[in-house]
Symmetry: C2
Subunit: 202 residues, 2 copies
């Protein structure tokens, strides 16, 4: 996995992602063309599309990887006695998760600001959220058993977890507080109350 070719591929991918984020921040998303990004990375436009399916995807080069990591980590606890506890632990762990791509906090801030301003990036991010939601629902159905009630509550939990995180981040955008602690309290309340007991109306 670390031969010449893979290194070259990764180098190009990084150059493209870095150029994209930098240019988006400097001149704005719409004012940046894919030709600009490719030229800045020293490759052709066609090469850009060998690495990213869309312009927006270049702003989040590690999304696929992060979702995959989350799914793996969630799956590792499939046999746990307390599936909800394991889910919450995994989510909490995700907060600390940073990797090679988004390490620099300046990059993270840039990305967050762009996300709020550019609808196309918001769409891209929302697609990733849906992947997380599906992963959570699948995990809980496996843990709870495949009844209609379980499938329904699992889907709601997936939405609730991601929704709580997203809403918390939105407010956090203009007010400082401990994101991890607050979202954890909200999620634990949700599970303590409305989400862990069968529905009456089903």
């Amino acid at each position: 996995m670390a031969n010449q070719r893979d290194r070259q591929r990764l180098r190009t991918r990084r150059a493209l992602a870095d150029s994209a984020l930098r240019l988006f921040a400097e001149r704005g998303y719409d004012a940046t063309t894919i030709d600009d990004i490719a030229a800045a990375a020293g490759v052709t436009q066609r090469t850009f599309f060998h690495h990213f399916p869309t312009k927006a995807a270049a702003a989040f080069p590690d999304h696929e990887q992060r979702v995959a990591d989350f799914v793996t980590r969630l799956g590792d606890g499939a046999q746990q006695a307390d599936p909800v506890g394991h889910l919450l632990d995994t989510v909490a762990h995700g907060w600390k998760g940073s990797n090679e791509w988004s390490d620099a906090s300046s990059m993270r801030r840039t990305r967050y600001r762009l996300l709020a301003e550019v609808p196309a990036l918001h769409d891209e991010d929302a697609r990733t959220d849906r992947d997380y939601e599906r992963a959570i629902a699948t995990y809980l159905v496996a843990a709870w058993g495949d009844t209609l009630d379980a499938r329904l509550r699992a889907a709601v939990v997936g939405n609730a977890v991601i929704g709580v995180l997203r809403a918390t981040l939105v407010v956090w955008g203009d007010a400082e507080f401990e994101v991890a602690a607050v979202s954890d309290e909200l999620l634990r309340r949700m599970f303590a109350g409305p989400l862990s007991h069968p529905l009456q109306t089903l």
Copy 2:
């Protein structure tokens, strides 16, 4: 508001929306070009863009109107003693809400099927969801008072309400049950438990 010009404009808009939905259903979203839609409606491509900002928007010609209706209805209860009750009533009322555009249930089914299959339409729908979420959050902050805790819980409620509805609809896609009753129970649980009391960790 019912002069010759407005009637003509509405007629064209309807023709475009009908042609779009029909062609999307017949040959698929990607296989339908905007020229096709415009030609089927008897106008030019440029006219299409006088009525809809994007190709996807033509599949939901009344989204703006629906959001505006929701906001109006929500605002009408601004002085109510029980804001959460008013919100739930408004949401429940939304279920029954059908209008001139989406009256025919066959159209509604077609639209729902397309929504599940076409990512671009999913994105479009998600943007509308965000409008609802913002409307709910704004309403609740006005009712609860503008503290950090209220802003946070209001944002979470907006996400939770829309999330519950979306998750319920997804599961409902392959299992029949009373959507309105089930989502109402879920929402009432959320408000009874985790969402109506100040956060400890703030």
